[in-house]
C-alpha cells in the first residue's frame, strides 16, 4: 500500500518515497505505522538517548530496608548524603519507583515476597544488589535458610560490596547504574 492509494497523488511520488530511508529503514515501512514500529524506531535512533537521559537522571528507588544496609539506606536518603542531588529519591511503594535495591539477606520465606515487589514495579526498572548478603549470602553464605545467589532471580545491574556499604557507596552504585543506562548496557536493555 502506497501513499497514492490514500491521497490522489501521482504514482511517481510513491516510487520516489520508496527510495527514502530513515535510520537505515525504508520510509514506507514507517509511514503506515503501528505502535510496535514506533517503538522499533525509538530503539534505533537518538530519541532513545534522550529518553535514557531522562530516565537516568530520575532514578527513584524503593525504600525497603531489610537489614544492616537498610540503616545506611536511611542515611543515604537524609541530608548528610542527600541523594536528591542526583535525582535519586526514596519512595515507599513499588508502584512509583524505577530501581529496587536488594539491601539484605533473602531467605526462603522472604523470596516470594520480594519477587512480588519486583513484579509490581512498572517498567522501565532496574535492580541493584547492595551489601554482601544480597550478592552472595555474605556471612551467612552456608546457612540452610539463605538464598546465596540472588543473581539467579533478579537481573542485577550493579553489585555494591560492603558490609554494610558506606552511604558513599550507594552513590557510587547509582552512578554506575546511570553510566550503564547511558551506555545502554543494562541487563534488561532499556
Amino acid at each position: 500500500m502506497g501513499i497514492s492509494d490514500v491521497i490522489p497523488l501521482p504514482v511517481v511520488v510513491d516510487e520516489e518515497l520508496e527510495k527514502w530511508t530513515i535510520w537505515g529503514k525504508p520510509l514506507t515501512d514507517v509511514w503506515f505505522t503501528t505502535t510496535e514500529k514506533i517503538h522499533e524506531i525509538i530503539e534505533m535512533g537518538p530519541i532513545k538517548n534522550v529518553l535514557n537521559w531522562g530516565r537516568k537522571n530520575s532514578l527513584w528507588f524503593l525504600m525497603q530496608p531489610m537489614g544492616c544496609c537498610g540503616v545506611e539506606m536511611l542515611v543515604f536518603g537524609c541530608p548528610p548524603y542527600d541523594c536528591d542531588r542526583f535525582g535519586i529519591f526514596p519512595r515507599a511503594t513499588p508502584r512509583q519507583v524505577d530501581v529496587m535495591i536488594i539491601s539484605g539477606y533473602i531467605t526462603r520465606k522472604y523470596l516470594p515476597a520480594i519477587k512480588n515487589l519486583w513484579e509490581q514495579i512498572p517498567e522501565p526498572k532496574w535492580v541493584m544488589a547492595i551489601g554482601e548478603c544480597a550478592i552472595s549470602g555474605g556471612p551467612f553464605y552456608d546457612s540452610y535458610n539463605i538464598i546465596n545467589n540472588t543473581g539467579r532471580f533478579f537481573p542485577i545491574d550493579v553489585y555494591v560490596p560492603g558490609c554494610p556499604p558506606r552511604p558513599e557507596k550507594f552513590i557510587e552504585g547509582f552512578r554506575g547504574l546511570q553510566e550503564k543506562i547511558k551506555q545502554r548496557e543494562d541487563k534488561r536493555g532499556y
Binding site: 541530608p79 549470602g137 555474605g138 553464605y141 542485577i156 553489585y159 560490596p161 554506575g176
Partner: protein, 186 residues
C-alpha cells in the same frame, strides 16, 4: 505554639553549618583505621595462608601469582579476595604474621558483574617487582635451593650416622635392661 516549634527549624536553616558531604567531588576524611579494600605488600607476603584460614566467610583463596618474592614465598601463591563475600571484619589483617596484608581507605569497588568483585593478587598488590628484579630473585632462589639441597644431603648423612650410633647404643641399653628384668624375675 506553631511559631515556637518552627523556631528550631528556622535556627537550623540560618545557622550556616554545612551537613551534606559532597561525595563524588570531595571524599570525607576517613580515619587511619578505616577498613576498606585490602592492600597486599607483595614483597613481604610469605604465602602462609593464615588469612584464608581465619576468614569467617571463606572468601580468601590462595592463587598462583608470579610477581612476588620467591625467596620468601616458595609456592608463589598469594591471596585472592572475593569482595562479593568479604565482610571487612579485619580478622585477616589482625592474623597476618608478616604484616603484609593491610586495609586501605579506598572503598569504591562497585562492579557491573559478579566477577568484577573478585580481586586477584594483581589488583590488590603493591610493591611489585620488575622483570629484571624478578630474574635476579629467581637466580638467588635457585642458588639458595641448591645450597639447601646440599645442606640437606649433608644433614641426612650426619643424621644417618647419628641414628646408627643411637641404634647401637639403644640395643646395648635394651640388652642391659633385659638382663635387669631377668635378674628381677629370678
Amino acid at each position: 505554639m506553631v511559631l515556637k516549634n518552627l523556631k528550631m527549624t528556622l535556627k537550623r536553616s540560618v545557622s550556616g553549618v554545612e551537613v551534606t558531604r559532597l561525595y563524588p567531588e570531595k571524599t570525607m576524611d576517613l580515619p587511619d583505621v578505616e577498613r576498606g579494600v585490602h592492600v597486599l605488600d607483595i614483597r613481604k607476603c610469605i604465602g602462609c595462608g593464615a588469612c584464608a584460614r581465619i576468614c569467617p566467610n571463606d572468601c580468601i583463596e590462595l592463587v598462583p601469582y608470579k610477581r612476588g618474592n620467591p625467596l620468601k614465598n616458595k609456592k608463589q601463591k598469594y591471596p585472592q579476595i572475593d569482595y562479593g563475600r568479604c565482610m571487612f571484619c579485619g580478622l585477616c589483617v589482625d592474623d597476618c604474621p608478616a604484616d603484609c596484608l593491610t586495609m586501605s581507605k579506598v572503598f569504591e569497588i562497585a562492579g557491573w558483574e559478579r566477577d568484577d568483585l573478585v580481586y586477584s593478587p594483581e589488583k590488590i598488590a603493591v610493591g611489585k617487582y620488575t622483570d629484571q628484579e624478578l630474574a635476579e630473585l629467581a637466580e638467588e632462589a635457585r642458588k639458595a635451593a641448591e645450597e639447601k639441597k646440599r645442606k640437606a644431603a649433608e644433614a641426612a648423612k650426619a643424621k644417618k650416622a647419628k641414628a646408627a650410633k643411637a641404634k647401637a647404643a639403644e640395643e646395648g641399653e635394651k640388652g642391659s635392661g633385659e638382663k635387669a628384668a631377668k635378674k628381677k624375675a629370678e
